[in-house]
Amino acid sequence: MADDKLNDDAQPFTRRYFLEALGGGAIGIAATGGVILTARFLSPNVLREPPSKFRAGNVEDFPTGSVTLNKEQKVFLVRANEGYFYAVSAVCTHLGCIANWKSEEGVIACPCHGSKFNKEGKLLEGPAPRSLPRFSITLDDRSQLHVDKGVVVGEEVILKV
């Protein structure tokens, strides 16, 4: 008796059920594949953006105590009074505007929402959450400065010339 009742409740594995499962499964796999393909399609594989490494110029072009903005690369090249170099990002850490060097006040100031940084890139005031990052800077044998924006370095890293 108990076995009969169990059999009544159990779904018999019919041909119709098999074909439905097969069809549904095929549609499901195709739909999943479609979603994955579309998601991958949306993410570009090749970017034609400016390269992260660039030549910043000759050492002689930068007097000591100068802060020079490379507009195209959005990087400040700073030569300290002591003569060493470092590269500070000009992209404000708040919402990505380009900050300017204000020589009268001696600060790097963002025009969008008023964040201020000192010439080491340290956050002084404003809504920016972090100081400006510093990038790797190197000197080649023809006294050209090279900056790599792909490599963020600590503020102890300086380039003595």
Binding site: P44, L47, R48, E49, L95, C97
Partner: protein, 237 residues
């Protein structure tokens, strides 16, 4: 004479193939006029007098739709002269202003209607809130309305980049940097997909163009269809 002309028109096969019911002279034909017309069929056959009082709704939903239609028409015309690529976008916009006949008029109409739509949609939301029209059985329609507000804002925002001037560029730079603040590492991914890269450039321009002219409007039209249908089923106009 004129009456006879109209009678002949109403009896002609062309007329009777378009309007398959008599003139709205009885309750039955009046109801049929609504049922058998594509543009009217979502209306209820009867509405409460109270709910069609102008000062109840202020016609704000209808105004939003009207503005959307104005924006679609002017937008489609603007598309004929605008090319979404970095060397051309800004100059095409300037050509629309100074070279194309009525271009300035169409562009301004598109811009003002866009501003007005954001305001009117928001006022519509306030009206619905103050008349308590979000309550059962209309809760879900309120939710659809919230999505429609989001669509309106997305349309405004994606259109913001298209003139490709300084305001556009920094507006989108700031906005997509805000997106980067989304937690769990999702922000970077969403921002990258929105811009099609790491900077506001060619990929970003074409993505915002496609979103602005096709993807978001289609989503908005679908949501609007459901929104209006539910308004009518719940006894509104």
């Amino acid at each position: 004479m004129i009456k006879r002309m109209f009678e002949r028109l109403f009896q002609s096969q062309v007329w009777r193939s378009m309007f398959r019911h008599g003139l709205p002279e009885s309750n039955r034909t009046r109801a049929e006029t609504v049922f058998y017309n594509f543009f009217l069929h979502v209306h209820p056959t009867k509405v409460r007098k109270r709910s069609i009082r102008f000062t109840y709704t202020w016609g704000l939903g209808g105004l939003s739709l009207g503005l959307f239609i104005v924006l679609t028409a002017t937008g489609a015309l603007l598309m004929l002269y605008y090319r979404p690529s970095v060397p051309q976008a800004y100059w095409d916009m300037k050509d629309l202003q100074f070279v194309v006949s009525s271009g300035q008029y169409l562009r301004n109409m598109h811009r003002w209607a866009a501003h007005a739509m954001v305001a009117v949609v928001f006022l519509h939301m306030l009206r619905v809130f103050y008349t308590g029209s979000y309550r059962s059985p209309k809760e879900f329609n309120w939710v659809i309305g919230v999505f429609l507000l989001v669509m309106t804002i997305l349309l405004s925002y994606t259109g913001y980049l298209l003139p490709w001037d300084q305001l556009s560029f920094w507006g989108i730079s700031v906005g997509t940097n805000m997106v980067r603040a989304v937690p769990f590492g999702m922000g970077e991914t969403i921002s990258f997909l929105l811009l099609g890269g790491n900077v506001v450039g060619e990929n970003a321009l074409i993505r915002f163009y496609v979103l602005h002219c096709f993807i978001v409007p289609v989503a908005a039209v679908i949501l609007m269809g459901i929104h209006f249908w539910r308004v009518r089923k719940d006894g509104g106009v």
